[in-house]
């Protein structure tokens, strides 16, 4: 074990952890904004209740996303300083723009939304949650543009005098085809999580508390969430399909590693699962769908998909001796878990919609309840595995074709230091995870609140009136 390994583990753990909160923030900000818009348009109290209810869950989650996000920005400099030096000219710009354009919008307007119920006119207050939601979704674009540069570097040149990559075309960086497709894929994945959370919580109340005055609200939330989940799942599949073809073009090794495809094949089959050696080099049993990998990778059922061995030979010739192959068991299984968990969430959403068809009451079924409660966890896992796949599939590169991960690490940070930080982050994140989940469950169980429409703001003497919301 050396400082590099620990730095990689730390980046992996803190990033996956951060991205447990990000999808909910992205998706739920918009869904809560939609609920509040429905209340604003119809005046129906059930939408206000749902806005307040899911708004609380959103904020419990949001706080975690904010504080774990700061670590992400600092970590490039702290642990990956040679990487930061190498790409700073290109990579820093989207990060700075993300902060200036998106984070200010998100954090300022979320404050206005939380505390503004009785301070702002209703329309303006509604606008604040939309501004926060736009900020959140916008932030995703800039950080994904930065990440896409690592997958498929464009719009730059290598300057041998400084030994750094230099920006030559910022528009090319922002319109990187990997970014253009990763953004909708990630956003759709986020809505898969948010829609699933709506369903899970509403379903729990519908089954546990069958004749409540709030049943109509939960019925709406369950159906709305299920439709969001289904539409998001469709979008995930379509964007994922396009993404696979772009990936095959710009990072063929990643596609080969996704399948554990050692030999170039045309047509290439897709294995749903394989039993054999862990890295798939020797198989005892495999459930294979013919032509599918060729179609996923190239759009042609008979298309050629390059194998790991050929690509390894090609890269060795191009970049010098060394291993250019990711860890195959990780890429193979994370790719399947991503797809499998995502599709499972969509299947449950379909089931929920079917049980409620034509106004039927949700059946009192233990298995349906369990499936519903599993719903938000499944797409969260899908999101995590998707990131593990795409980042581990890029290895050994930190910037594909330009810089190896091992060359990007901070030279001045000792093993002791990085072990200290890794331990500290892991501990505080574990404690906070327990607290956060307990709070989420507590507030989810509490159910929709009783609401009185917030008082209109006025400038008359209201010195003694309690605030509509206070920390």
């Amino acid at each position: 074990m050396d400082a590099l390994d620990v730095a990689r583990w730390q980046f992996g753990v803190t990033t996956v952890y951060h991205f447990l909160f990000v999808p909910l923030t992205i998706g739920l900000s918009v869904l809560v904004a939609i609920l509040q818009t429905l209340w604003h348009r119809t005046g129906d109290e059930k939408y206000l209740k749902l806005t307040r209810f899911y708004g609380k869950l959103f904020l419990i989650n949001f706080a975690m996303g904010v504080v774990t996000g700061i670590v992400q920005e600092f970590q490039f400099g702290m642990n990956w300083s040679d990487y930061s030096r190498f790409v700073g000219d290109i990579f820093g710009a989207p990060l700075a723009i993300e902060a200036l354009v998106a984070f200010f919008l998100e954090s300022t307007f979320i404050g206005l939304w939380i505390f503004g119920w009785d301070r702002l006119p209703a329309r303006l207050h509604l606008a604040t949650i939309w501004a926060a939601a736009i900020g959140t979704n916008l932030s995703a674009y800039f950080i994904l543009a930065a990440n896409s540069f690592m997958q498929n570097p464009v719009g730059y040149r290598y300057n041998p005098d400084t030994g750094r990559a230099e920006l030559t075309d910022f528009v090319a960086v922002l319109t990187n085809k990997v970014a253009l497709i990763t953004f909708p894929h990630t956003i759709a994945g986020a809505f898969l999580v948010a829609g699933s959370l709506l369903v899970a919580v509403a379903l729990w109340h519908l089954i546990r508390n069958r004749d409540s005055t709030d049943t109509p609200a939960y019925r709406f939330a369950a159906r709305f969430g299920a439709w969001v989940t289904l539409i998001a799942a469709g979008a995930v599949v379509i964007t994922g399909d396009i993404q696979g073809k772009i990936m095959t073009e710009v990072q063929p090794m990643k596609m080969a590693a996704a399948e554990g495809l050692y030999q170039t094949e045309s047509p290439a089959p897709f294995s749903v699962l394989t039993i054999g050696s862990l890295d798939g080099s020797r198989e005892l049993f495999a459930l294979k769908i013919p032509y599918l990998l060729s179609y996923l990778g190239t759009g042609d059922p008979n298309g050629t998909v390059h194998g790991i061995n050929d690509l390894q030979a090609l890269y060795s010739a191009q970049y010098g001796p060394g291993s250019y192959t990711p860890i195959i068991p990780v890429t193979y299984w994370s790719f399947r878990f991503m797809i499998g968990f995502g599709l499972a969430a969509a299947a449950i959403a379909l089931l929920v919609l079917w049980t409620q068809r034509k106004g039927r009451a949700i059946p009192d079924n233990r298995w349906l309840l369990r499936a519903g409660l599993a719903m938000p966890i499944l797409p969260l896992l899908a999101n995590s595995f998707g990131w593990i796949f795409t980042e581990m599939g890029r290895q050994p590169w930190i910037v594909f074709g330009e810089m190896l991960t091992r060359d990007g690490v901070s030279r001045s940070v000792s093993l002791t230091e990085v072990l200290t930080s890794f331990t500290a982050f892991t501990l505080i994140y574990a404690v906070l995870a327990v607290i956060e989940v307990k709070l989420l469950i507590r507030y989810a169980k509490a159910g929709v609140p009783d609401v009185t429409p917030p008082p209109e703001p006025d400038d008359t003497d209201d010195a003694e009136r309690p605030l509509a919301f206070a920390y």
Binding site: L59, I60, A63, M64, V66, V67, T68, G69, I70, V71, E73, F74, F76, G77, M78, N79, S81, S84, R85, V87, G88, D89, I90, F91, G92, A96, I97, A99, L100, F103, F104, L105, S107, T108, F109, G111, L112, I114, F115, R119, L120, L167, T168, F170, S410, R411, S412, V413, E417, T420, S421, I428, L432, I435, Y443, E464, P466, L467, A470, Y471
Partner: protein
């Protein structure tokens, strides 16, 4: 003006904004057990910054992002070199941010007390360590010819840097007390005003000592003028606090913090991280900078978006301009 100079100024402005805004957030957090006698009073204090603390913290994220984009070498060397202090700052900011949101989520006294501790420690630690960090930037650190930090942790804990930490912590505490006096009504307002004066005297002594020491390390005419102005602003704020002119007192402490940060950046320029070893290791606004192309793009982005951000953040302060007291705190 050179693009690198513009970006040096912008990074300075972002840190100045960060310390003025998050300065009173830290102050409010540090003073929680001092001024907040019971749960209601502590809630009053937290709610004075409740709607704005998150937006204030984005000044730091933007400052970090701007350093990364405009001066990658500075960002890389500083953040990897100051590894453990920055780790502590991160852990503190994590605990503090979550505490604001979670503290009121359960009624138990133990629950609230634990989050109160997180707020106090989470405010005090960065308030000290930012001073330590900036003092070390001014003092210079051991950098080799590759601009790599070779100093270790103990090198950062020198007397001058520790004085810097004491200065920022006391200054922010004063700023926070003045802010509470400005934003509250009732008993707590009176106690905050009285405390602001006492803290302010200590802050003035420390600030004058620290800035004078700074000017013996590196100096320019402009830095001397700014340092004197910072001291005057702080004295003015202190005088205003004494006569209970809370708006002016806050203007005074905010201006003093702004001018003190400006003093540090002015004294530092054109260096961004001086080396105490090989002069070739010194990072300057020129040798740490990105290409003119990147700086040009970033300049346009900053010119377009900064006024918008300032406008809506300013508007937020207008929306939440009213003072609050214990009567405003809802039951749950």
């Amino acid at each position: 003006m050179e693009l690198t100079t513009i970006w040096f100024l912008l990074v300075a402005v972002l840190f100045t904004g960060y310390f003025i805004l998050e300065g009173f957030d830290f102050g409010v957090g540090m003073l929680l057990p001092v001024l907040g006698r019971d749960d209601k009073e502590r809630r009053v204090m937290i709610n004075t910054i409740g709607p704005v603390w998150d937006g204030n913290e984005v000044w730091l994220i933007t400052a970090g992002g701007a350093m990364f984009a405009a001066f990658p070498e500075w960002y890389a060397t500083l953040f990897s070199g100051f590894y453990l202090p920055l780790l502590l700052i991160l852990l503190a900011l994590i605990a503090r941010g979550v505490a604001f949101e979670y503290r009121h989520k359960r009624p138990e006294a133990t629950w609230k007390r634990r989050w109160d501790n997180a707020i106090v420690i989470g405010s005090l630690v960065p308030a000290i360590l930012w001073g330590v960090a900036f003092a070390n930037i001014l003092r210079g650190v051991p950098l080799d010819a590759d601009h790599e930090y070779v100093g270790g942790l103990l090198n950062l804990l020198n007397p001058y840097a520790l004085l810097g930490g004491a200065t920022t912590a006391t200054l922010f505490a004063t700023h926070g007390a003045v802010f509470i006096a400005l934003k509250t009504i009732g008993d707590i307002r009176d106690r905050a005003a009285a405390l602001a004066v006492r803290l302010g005297i200590a802050a003035t002594v420390l600030t004058v000592t620290f800035l004078s020491w700074t000017l013996t390390i590196r100096s320019s005419t402009a830095a001397v003028v700014l340092a004197a102005a910072a001291a005057l602003a702080l004295l003015g704020g202190l005088a205003a606090a004494t006569v209970r002119r809370e708006g002016w007192a806050f203007t005074g402490t905010a201006t003093a913090i702004g001018l003190a940060v400006a003093t540090l950046f002015t004294a530092l320029f054109p260096n961004v991280l001086p080396s105490t070893l090989d002069p070739a290791g010194t990072l300057t606004a020129t040798n740490a900078a990105s290409t003119p192309y990147t700086l040009t793009i970033m300049t346009w982005v900053a010119v377009f978006f900064t006024p918008i951000v300032l406008a809506y953040q300013g508007w937020t302060y207008w929306v939440f301009r009213k003072r609050i007291g214990v009567a405003h705190i809802p039951q749950h």
